[in-house]
Symmetry: C2
Subunit: 307 residues, 2 copies
Amino acid sequence: MSEILFDRIALIGIGLIGSSIARDIKKLSLAKDVVISTRSAETLKRAEELGLGTAYTLSAAEAVKDADLVIVSVPVGASEAVARDIAPHLKPGAIVTDVGSTKASVIAQMAPHMPDGVHFIPGHPLAGTEKSGPDAGFTGLFKGRWCIFTPLPGTDRAALERLSNFWKALGSMIDEMDPQHHDKVLAIVSHLPHIIAYNIVGTADDLETVTESEVIKYSASGFRDFTRLAASDPTMWRDVCLHNKDAILEMLARFSEDLAYLQRAIRWGEGDKLFELFSRTRTIRRSIVQAGQDVDSPDFGRHALDK
Amino acid sequence: MSEILFDRIALIGIGLIGSSIARDIKKLSLAKDVVISTRSAETLKRAEELGLGTAYTLSAAEAVKDADLVIVSVPVGASEAVARDIAPHLKPGAIVTDVGSTKASVIAQMAPHMPDGVHFIPGHPLAGTEKSGPDAGFTGLFKGRWCIFTPLPGTDRAALERLSNFWKALGSMIDEMDPQHHDKVLAIVSHLPHIIAYNIVGTADDLETVTESEVIKYSASGFRDFTRLAASDPTMWRDVCLHNKDAILEMLARFSEDLAYLQRAIRWGEGDKLFELFSRTRTIRRSIVQAGQDVDSPDFGRHALDK
């Protein structure tokens, strides 16, 4: 069914995303060689044990030699260091892409280092789970998910199409946006939800009047829904916050403003205002389910898995 | 296996909770007669079509006649009206309980109306989904979930035991608390999460720079987790906000304070503070999974249901 799309692919970073890409490449035979590189000797060893690639190295510079496609899957704050490392060793005509959750910052970090003749195409597959590390990856992670490219002006369309075909082979749907818009969209659909989830779990953790064991015991009444996002990779999310600061602060300001309005309605017993808000949010859930972006079963379908 | 625990049970209110109780009673043959009452003729008709009880009436007063157990499952703001309606018609020795998410307010609304010789035992099964109405109920909703009683001083222990046995037959685990503590615990594990979820979905709905269709399209990157809670019954949640005001406002104040701290850390690029918070919240998720209060599969296990 599938065909070799690139002779040699280099994967820089082999966490949840990198290792899921590796598994798909292997399963679908999309490349002859897959060189895996990560800074941690322990993680590299694990990647090798899992048989995720065909070669393994601690040096990103070494990994990209002769690679036709380089996929950088590291916390966004590490993008510049990687770009600087690999730049002198990139093969002319190679495609370099990334999977970072913020795009303007990644472009600012990487683009200046990219040599002429190399196609740098920033990308962001909207996929992942709350787990991290090479063991957390799985085949099919990107199936039915969006992959957003934020190409720079003058990007070679043929290179973009080759890269699109790669992601399509993994089952993704392709979108294109400018980096600033991407960062605003992601700030509301992903970054704010994660920050809010981390925050509420932190608030619960700090209470004196309600014990932590009570929070855990009774979490099924709502709280547990937040703990999934709040269990995501701390390094990744620290970097997202630092590298999409402006858009995140804008969304946080709006969120807090709306919350103050709601808080005031509760204090003054304004039932109509509460009812109005609580009613219109239902529509969005319905649209998300209709768009195939979430399951329709109650409780995310986990009731069936419950005891 | 099971046995008749009450000759006649009256269910006042037949939404998600009431209808799930009705389905369990029927399946487990826990009562000879089940009289169902609700204020809406349409809902009552639907309950009858679903065969949820043995008798149906629009009058709560009528429904409780000769009932040994009365379960009030209405939005908490309607508790006093129900108590006033049913009080003169309650059978001596009957047990009256409720399923409301706030307890101090329900007690204040109902207890003064309860005649001598009737056992009023406030209760709260911590179970539900984001769906509502008689069609949303299902057997087994209470299985493995907690049911918290907040008995009044001087409660008859034998009556409490009979009621406990009823909930145990439905698969619930029993806890006891004083009403004020219950309201604080629920404010953090349930009310705050719902309010925050409603709020963030409202914020997203209001944006001008990011379209609603983009929010829906890319919601799998985090946002969708919040939309489930934000799709819950608006009437129920309006009433919860109005009837657990003090505890909710306290939790909201703490949440906002913590969020301001986090926001400041983002603005000033304090990565260490962010990393510290983002790391400690992982532990709580792990404890919740270990306590059997959530599934361990990534994405709440819904990935398997995804396309």
